[in-house]
């Protein structure tokens, strides 16, 4: 059987170009394996052939993600690969993001299996674990010796078309996929009871259906005197000035907007609209106060119920926006609001 054609992606360091001083280097290709690729090739034997290596500087990639990805895809396409391997990136953040993004783009563009390796806390891991097989590695290049066999084992299994076991068995990070499997030995009720008993005894157990974990934040103390409080408005409902000047996307918003509402008492059909996709925009477009209650808050400000309404509101579109991005936008908004002596925030979602 002919070897499976693979392309390997590396950064400037592992591509043997140089360190941080070469991190601005634009993508280029080299035929055959380079650096960690030679070790992978050795493990692959004649089943997978690394036909080419694409190398790009980490800084260049992360500062120009879209352009760099396009350039890299063009280089990869030239090799007509059947598989893409990236890294391993260990705990290098920029390299991890680059490996993840290159894998995700290649999986989408060429519909080929994509494999990379990262330390679980690499920011690239959470961003791209759903799109790529991310083999769990140690946190530094000192762990190359264990990373290479782990990655090559998974790559060979995929190249042979063998069925993969669970992420824990195969050594890659969970992708959030669920499979139905048949348990021939023990039925569900007895497995559940066994799990419960272990839990009660404080023994380790493994759920068959893990829930996504969301961290919690401590509730902040209540506002003491509403009459003196400055209230800020934030929305994920996509309310923007008419014409959507910041071009916030209807889905998977790439940014948020900040809008001055000094002197604005009411949002009208002529002045504001929603940029949000995924729901019928008619009601919000007719009267955006239905999503962002500026009319009522202005009224309360006049009546002295609240001290004041902050004269800038923030908006993004929640439709299809990842948790990581939502968190990023909220962090940036939060830093701005921290400078404004805000006492409380109302966030509205559609």
């Amino acid at each position: 059987m002919a070897a499976v054609r693979a392309v390997h992606y590396l950064n400037q360091f592992f591509g043997q170009i140089g360190g941080e001083d070469k991190a601005d280097i634009t993508p280029f290709q080299k035929d055959g394996p380079v650096g960690p690729g030679t070790a992978l090739q050795k493990a692959f034997g004649d089943e997978i052939e690394i036909v080419g290596t694409v190398i790009c500087g980490d800084t260049y990639f992360n500062e120009n993600i879209e352009t760099a990805t396009t350039e890299i895809m063009e280089l990869i396409a030239g090799y007509q690969p059947q598989m893409l391997i990236a890294g391993p990136a260990f705990n290098a953040g920029r390299y991890g993001v680059a490996c993840g993004a290159v894998c995700a783009a290649a999986a989408e563009k060429f519909a080929i299996p994509v494999i990379t390796g990262m330390y679980e806390e690499n920011p690239g891991a959470d961003l791209y674990r759903k799109q790529a097989y991310i083999v769990r590695t140690g946190d530094s290049a000192a762990k190359m010796r264990t990373a290479i066999p782990a990655m090559s084992k998974l790559a060979l299994k995929i190249a042979r078309g063998e069925e993969l076991g669970t992420p824990a068995d195969e050594g890659y990070l969970e992708q959030g996929l669920r499979f139905n499997t048949m348990h021939h030995t023990e039925r569900g009720s007895s497995r559940a009871v066994a799990m419960l008993l272990k839990k009660l005894k404080g023994e380790p157990y493994q759920s068959e259906y893990p829930m996504p974990s969301f961290s919690r934040v401590t509730p902040r103390p209540a506002i003491k005197d509403l009459k003196k409080a400055k209230i800020a408005l934030v929305t994920s409902g996509g309310i923007v000035p008419k014409g959507n000047p910041d071009r916030i996307e209807a889905s998977s918003a790439s940014h948020f907007g900040r809008y001055d509402i000094t002197g604005i008492e009411d949002l009208t059909e002529d002045t504001f609209e929603t940029a949000h996709g995924g729901y019928d925009p008619v009601y919000a477009n007719l009267d955006a106060d239905r999503v962002l209650p500026i009319d009522v808050l202005r009224q309360m400000e006049k009546e002295g119920v609240i001290g004041s309404l902050h004269n800038v509101y923030y908006a993004t579109v929640g439709n299809g926006t990842s948790v990581a991005n939502a968190q990023k936008y909220a962090h940036a908004i939060g830093l701005e609001l921290s400078e404004e002596n805000i006492d409380g925030i109302i966030l509205t979602s559609t």
Binding site: V217, P219, V291, D343, G344, I345, L347, T348, T350
Partner: protein
């Protein structure tokens, strides 16, 4: 966003939202259930004065949430 704002600005944040289970799962601390997805703070079948009254009552509830001490996720 609710959690990140609460953490970054260090002030109480209230989430007015239609799909309360999502807000609960994600971890908002103060939650006010809204009317409907396309018009969380409105109801187009009402006359405009009544609709504004409805909106005002939801905002009042949100402000009540901001002035109430909570130790855990609370729905108002």
């Amino acid at each position: 966003m609710v959690k990140e704002l609460e953490e970054t600005v260090n002030v109480p944040v209230v989430h007015i939202c239609t799909i309360v289970p999502i807000s609960l799962t994600v971890g908002a601390n103060r939650i006010v259930p809204a009317v409907a997805i396309p018009h969380p703070l409105g109801n187009p079948t009402l006359q405009s004065a009544e609709e504004k009254e409805l909106r005002r009552s939801l905002v009042e509830k949100a402000l009540q949430a901001l002035t109430t001490e909570v130790n855990e996720q609370t729905q108002f």
